[in-house]
Every structure is written in structure tokens, then in C-alpha cells.
Amino acid sequence: MKVFFATDIHGSEVCWRKFLNAAAFYKADMVVLGGDLTGKVMVPIIAHSGYWKVTVRGHEHRLESQQELEQIQRQIRNSGSYPAIVSPDELATLSAEEGAVDRRFTQEMTQSLDRWLDMADGKLRGGEIPCILNGGNDDIFEIDDIIEQSPCVRFGEAKMLDLDGFQLVSMGWTNPTPWNTFREAPEAELARKIDQVAGQITDTGRAIFNFHAPPYGTGLDEAPALDENLRPMHGGAVMKPVGSTSVRDAIRKYQPMLSVHGHIHESRGVKRMGRTLAINPGSVYGDGVLQGAVLELNPKKGKVTKYLLVNG
């Protein structure tokens, strides 16, 4: 069975479209998206009478036509941001009222995901090509139900999914980060969550871990060391492991055939941990490039026979 795994597309619509096309492109039997689907940035497009104004990457645009508006919306979505059309009054409210930005962010994220899932229906032949989605630490909890209700994709979080004899278990939670995001837990709690989901596995020889956090100290979790102001230290030259010890210990304990991860975008790599092949394909969603892993799994031997990290 051939699997395509990608992760951390962070709202990039061009990466989502590529993900939907990946099964056909790589001739994969199944596609898995490992979490952090939602974006981090919302760009207000201010609607005036007869025109719109928006600043994209420091450059102010005045949009005179619907066509120009759609073009800039597409550009914003492709970069992983959410275009939010607001009136000058709404913008003032967003700036002034506590919680207003949160609410608008949530609205944009959920609406965007709805749209994405509509696109998926056609591309994945109504669920004929198995597609597993999962949350990541940066994803709001509201997305879980939306994915659950989609007829063409399956939501993996905290479940054991049987996929042609392979047992896929998923978890979007990570160890704590400096950003205090949604799905973070101390290592002890994370270990409990992992045991709960991994405990459902009946055949570790055919098990696949889809854990957002990479295992600690494996080279799949190297991020720039930051000072107390979240500024990279020593010109970004110093990297440090920031992965999860619970994930590392679980891989050592259960020894699944494959363990796929994300979370640390700059730490693209592969690591053998006993009989487990651990992979983090990394992410460069901002470039519109979908990094991923093409994996060939042998059900009889219960092993990964081939793998290739790709920049699609």
C-alpha cells in the first residue's frame, strides 16, 4: 500500500489543493494530513464605497473591481492567511473590543475548513480514496466536529483506524511550547494520552503512529533556540531539540512499523528507532510547496519498504 503523508499546511490553500491532488500524482492509495491545518494570520480587507483597501506583505493595494478582490483573496489564502472583508467600523471594533479578533479568527478558520472539505469531496471521489485528517497543537477544537461530519475524510484524533490491515493511531497534542497553543499538555499527561490511543492497537507490527509532536532528541525536532523574548539566539545558528520525550518513549515501547510527525517545520528528516521508521517531512507551506513523504508499506512483512521525502 502506498501512503502520502503531509503536515502543517497552516491554512495554505495552495498546499491543501496539492494535498488533494497528491493521491493521483504519487499514485497513493491513501493520504494523511498530520495536523496544524489552520492558519496563523488574518488579513483585513477594508471595504469602502466602490473599492477595497488591503495591505499584503507591507504593500498597500487599492482594489477597484470584484476580479481584483478575488485575486488578492486567492493570494492571501495561498500564503496561509485568511482574508477577512471588514467595514472600517468592523475593523475599529476588531481593534478595540476584547475577544472580537478571536471570534473573527474562529469564524474564518471554520468557514475556510468547510470550503476545503467541499473541495475534497470531488478530488477524493467522495471518500473512495481514504483521507485521514488530524488536528495539531495550533488547531482550535472547533475544527474537530467539522472534520468528523465530512463524508469524504476521516478524523483520526485519539482513534485507532484500521486501514487495509494497518492500524493507524493519531494524536495532535504536543508537549508545551512557548506559545501556549491549544493542544499542549505536560509530558506526563501526554504519555497518558498516548497510552490511551496506542492501547487500542492489537498488532504493533502493522501499527502506524501519526503523532503531531516529533520524538525528542532524534533530529526530527530541531528548532532554533530562543531567548526569553522569543528571539532566535546567536543569529539562528543554534538549534535545540524541542520534541516530546513521551512520544520518543512510546515509539521505543510499542515499536510501530512507522511513526509520522510534524510540528517542527524546519526539522525535515528520517530516523530509525529500532524497527520503527520515524519521519518528519517538515513544512514550507508559506512557499506554496507541499512537503511530504511517499511511503510504501508491505502488509505481509509489516514494514516500510520504500520512502521518499518530496517537495511537491
Binding site: 500524482f25 496563523k40 495561498n78 492567511s81 479568527f105 528571539r231 532566535p232 524546519e266
Partner: protein, 542 residues
């Protein structure tokens, strides 16, 4: 959810708290990095000992300024690449994305890995002449046989090369965390050491230097009137040092390819840029590299002017010329730091000054070889090299196999460098091969707006314009001009020793090796059912 607004009273975007949203690193840090890479002590002063003899009519200061201006365009071109595709991996990532996988691998493997094998003995030689020789001479140590002069022998050069390789391996194994902190202290310590030299050369007259030089040369080596003997020996060898002037431009331009040995590397840190928001800031990225480059230019010019004032320009050039001809009056390399230290007649002071100035070497040598392991890892993850090449020992986190691939050939090449009297002249090969890699990145800059249209349109670099012309691709053209000029000169002018038959064979062998590795990988992986051509093939969007 924690959020923040950017843009003041009328926000232009809203950010929510999410992983990876870090502040840009300080410009000062990247400036230090660029300054250490274009190392004016370890590389420039070392290089000047060969520059004047090769092109006696050329003007060092003018060529440094011309090189600085020209390399500034390379800084602009690389800034464009960094802010458009801000990925750790630098040239390898840009070239594989824009020019193709095979070319990207060959250029990265030769420029960031294979040629570093030659840099190992070159750095060994620098360590010899700027650290061991002057320390041994100052302390009058006679072990091993011959004392300081032993470090200039075949065995001495090879031994110090091995020390350099071991040091590089150790620093890579330790990791950058501790070393980066040490590196910063080295920069400030090195600057303090240079400040002392500036003061010494400013407050002492030419006459004082002559008497100090003669006194210390006699005390350490038993040579009488060493200053006069040096100028006399140069005259006898038929060398007439030029006066400091602006030109002539022709021979001065021929010094530009020589200057590349130290001034071409302000972009060395470009391989380190990862997914950091600050890296999208054109000004910040540019300022770091540009500042580092011009600090080096300023320090170099200050040093040369002060050397001219106190040592005497003709004497400085004579010393270099005689060393080049192996007819030096002193039995050690003409290290200006050693000479400046002689202005204070105190052995402890002289040793401390040499030690402090050696921080320019020790603060950089580890980073130089770190790039090789990065390329080896990237190639292994791309399945071009065996998986093992990227293995890191679990306990000690040592990348054992990549160290072997990096350091073992360096040991072999160090032996050739130390014991083959011709090979030692191929210093510019080490610069040329990296320059070729940079050339392809410059070509990538020029092609970027056409090959990756959407990426370029979205890049802040595309909006940097002068008189309506996009600055970054234009800078790419100027950089191509710089690198092609250097390549033509290196390959056509005998004085660089690059176009010697065996030198050309050596460099061709490096490219052949990279091509063979890539082709074999393609064949082997195809047999295994893995199609390497898929690595950078873009998935259709619609």
C-alpha cells in the same frame, strides 16, 4: 486565543499565538556571523602574503574597496533568495527548487562539502602560521626539532592540519549551542585584540618600529639588522614594492579574484535561515550581511593603512614577497600581529596578543565545516546518499558517518597538501569551487521571477525597485558578472595557480565525483523502485 495586531491604529494584519511565530533575530548577531565569515585576520591577512607577490603592481586597498562594492551586489542577490525562500539549506534548497535536483546536488556537494576537504589543510596552514609558529618563536621553544620553523615543514603542516580536522570534528560533535556563545566572545575578543594593535601602530613611529623589529628579531632569532636585511633581500630578488596609490586599475582588478578568498563569504550564514518571520524582512537580512561585509572592509583598510604608516608599506610588501619566494630573512611567516607585538618588549604581552588574535581563527573554524554535515544530511534525506549518512548516535548525538565522509577525505587531502609542493599552491581552487556554487545561485536569482512567478510576486524582494527596475534580479546579474570575471581570471591567468594541469584535474574530479554519486544514486534507487525525480516535482494545484 491570544492574538495581536500589526499596523498600528489601522491594523494591516492580525496574528494569533501559534507555534513558530518568533521575533526576527538581531541584526547584530547576523552581522557578527558575516564578519567572522569574511575573516579579516584568518583569511585576509593570510591572503595578503600571497597577493602582492602574485600581482606586484596591484593596489591592495583599492582592490579591497572594489571587491567590497562588487560583493555588495551578491549580498543583495542572496537577500532576495533568503526572503523569498527563507529555508535552512541555502544554496542547495534554492538551486534544487529553481534549477533542478541534479544540478542542485552537484553544486551543493562540491561547493559545501567536497571542497571543504581542501579548506581543512588551508585552515591547518593558517593555524600554523598565525598561531603555532609565532607562539613557538616568541617563547623560543625548540621542541619539536627546529622549534617554530618545524610548523612550516611537511610534517609540521600535516600535523597541524590533523589538529584542525580533529578540532572541527570535535566542534561539530559538541554542537553549535556552546560554540555559538564562544564564537561571539571570540568576535569581541578579536576586536579588542585588533584595537590594541591599532593603538600600537598609531602611537609608534616608523623609526620606533624599525628599532623594535631589529631588537626582537635579534633576541628571538639572532638576526642583526633584520629590517634592513629584509629590504635588501627584496631588492636583491628584483622586487620593487609599489607605493600606495589608487591604481593602476588593470593590475589592481587582477587582485579582485585574490580578495575573494576572504571577502566572498558574507552570505555564509544564508544556509542557516529557517522558518523565521524576521527572515522575511528584507532590511534585516540585508543589513546583517552587508554590515558584516563592510565591517571587514573597514577593518582591512584600517589595518593596511596602519601597516603602511608604522611598518612601512614597502617593508610589509617586501616581507610578503620574500616569504612567497621562500627567501624570508626571518624563519617564520611574516605575521603582522607578531610584528605589532614586538613594539612592546614584553614576552607575556606578545604571547597574549597572539592568543587574543587567534580568537578570529578559533571562533570560526567550527562553523566552516558544519556546512558539510548539513549538505550530507540533506542529501541522505533526499535518498541520494545512503540513510546511514544522516545517522546520529543516540547517546552522544554525534553524526558519526557524516563526520567520516567529511573528515576522512580531508585527512588524505591534507597529506597531499603537506607533502606535495605543487598542490599547496592550489589555494584558489578552494575559493573557485564555492564561487561556482554561488554563480548558480546568482543564476537562480535571475531566473526566480520567471520560474517561480507566484513565489516571486508574493516576495517582498520583488517590490524593492530603483528607477522602476527590480533590484534583486539586477543584483543577480551584477553578481554573475563578478563571479564570471573571477572564473575567467582564475582559469586564464597563471599567477593564481588554478589553471595548472593537476589543479584542473583535481577540481574536475570533484565535479565528476558529485555527478557519479548522483547518477549512481538515481540508478540504485530506481532499481529499488524509488524515483528520485519525484523529489522536486511540483504537484498540480488544480
Amino acid at each position: 486565543m491570544a492574538t495581536s495586531a500589526v499596523g498600528g491604529e489601522t491594523p494591516t494584519l492580525f496574528l494569533r499565538n501559534a507555534t513558530g511565530l518568533v521575533r526576527g533575530w538581531s541584526v547584530r548577531d547576523s552581522m557578527i556571523y558575516a564578519c567572522m565569515a569574511t575573516n579579516f585576520v584568518t583569511l585576509a591577512i593570510y591572503e595578503f602574503a600571497f597577493a602582492a607577490p602574485a600581482f606586484p603592481q596591484g593596489q591592495l586597498i583599492t582592490s579591497v574597496v572594489i571587491s567590497g562594492i562588487w560583493v555588495s551586489f551578491l549580498v543583495v542577490a542572496y537577500t532576495g533568495l533568503v526572503v523569498t525562500i527563507p529555508r535552512a539549506g541555502g544554496d542547495y534548497v534554492w538551486q534544487t527548487r529553481i534549477l533542478g535536483s541534479g544540478l542542485g546536488f552537484v553544486m551543493a556537494a562540491t561547493g559545501w562539502w567536497f571542497i571543504l576537504w581542501l579548506w581543512a589543510p588551508i585552515y591547518g596552514n593558517i593555524l600554523s602560521v598565525q598561531f603555532f609558529e609565532p607562539i613557538w618563536a616568541t617563547l623560543k621553544w625548540t621542541w619539536p626539532g627546529g622549534g617554530a620553523a618545524w610548523f612550516g615543514t611537511h610534517n609540521g603542516i600535516f600535523t597541524v592540519s590533523l589538529i584542525t580536522i580533529a578540532l572541527a570534528g570535535l566542534l561539530v560533535s559538541i554542537g553549535m549551542a556552546g560554540y555559538a556563545r564562544f564564537q561571539k566572545w571570540c568576535f569581541y575578543g578579536g576586536l579588542a585584540g585588533f584595537a590594541v594593535i591599532v593603538i600600537l601602530l598609531l602611537i609608534n613611529s616608523h623609526a620606533t618600529f624599525i628599532s623594535s623589529f631589529n631588537l626582537e628579531a635579534h633576541k628571538l632569532f639572532g638576526i642583526s639588522n633584520a629590517y634592513g636585511a629584509t629590504t635588501a633581500a627584496a631588492a636583491k630578488a628584483g622586487y620593487v614594492a609599489p607605493h600606495i596609490a589608487f591604481g593602476p586599475l588593470g593590475p589592481t582588478l587582477l587582485l579582485v579574484p585574490v580578495m575573494m578568498f576572504f571577502i566572498l563569504w558574507p552570505n555564509w550564514g544564508a544556509t542557516l535561515y529557517g522558518e523565521i518571520r524576521g527572515a522575511s524582512d528584507v532590511k534585516r537580512v540585508f543589513s546583517g550581511m552587508f554590515g558584516g561585509l563592510w565591517i571587514t572592509v573597514a577593518l582591512t583598510i584600517a589595518f593596511l593603512l596602519l601597516a603602511a604608516k608604522t611598518f612601512g608599506w614597502a617593508f610589509y610588501q617586501d616581507s610578503n614577497q620574500l616569504n612567497f619566494l621562500a627567501k624570508g630573512v626571518l624563519p617564520v611567516w611574516p605575521y603582522p600581529v607578531l610584528f605589532a607585538g614586538w613594539l612592546v618588549h614584553n614576552t607575556a604581552f606578545q604571547v597574549i596578543l597572539i592568543l587574543v588574535m587567534s580568537l578570529w581563527f578559533f571562533g570560526w573554524v567550527g562553523t566552516l565545516f558544519l556546512s558539510s554535515t548539513r549538505v550530507i544530511f540533506a542529501a541522505a534525506f533526499d535518498r541520494v546518499l545512503p540513510d546511514r549518512a544522516a545517522e546520529v548516535s543516540e547517546k552522544r548525538k554525534v553524526p558519526f558517518y557524516s563526520l567520516v565522509l567529511m573528515l576522512l577525505p580531508a585527512v588524505g587531502l591534507s597529506a597531499v597538501y603537506a607533502y606535495n609542493t605543487t598542490f599547496v599552491k592550489y589555494t584558489y581552487d578552494a575559493t573557485l569551487v564555492i564561487a561556482v556554487t554561488f554563480l548558480f545561485s546568482a543564476i537562480a536569482v535571475v531566473l526566480l521571477p520567471f520560474v517561480k512567478k507566484d513565489l516571486w510576486r508574493a516576495s517582498p524582494a520583488s517590490r524593492v525597485k530603483l528607477f522602476g527596475v527590480q533590484v534583486v534580479p539586477a543584483a543577480g546579474w551584477v553578481t554573475i558578472g563578478l563571479l564570471v570575471f573571477n572564473l575567467v581570471e582564475w582559469l586564464s591567468n597563471d599567477n593564481y595557480y588554478v589553471n595548472l594541469h593537476s589543479s584542473l584535474i583535481f577540481m574536475a574530479a570533484l565535479y565528476a565525483l558529485a555527478i557519479v554519486v548522483y547518477v549512481v544514486a538515481r540508478i540504485v534507487r530506481r532499481r529499488q523502485g524509488i524515483d528520485l525525480s519525484l523529489i522536486n516535482k511540483e504537484i498540480p494545484v488544480e
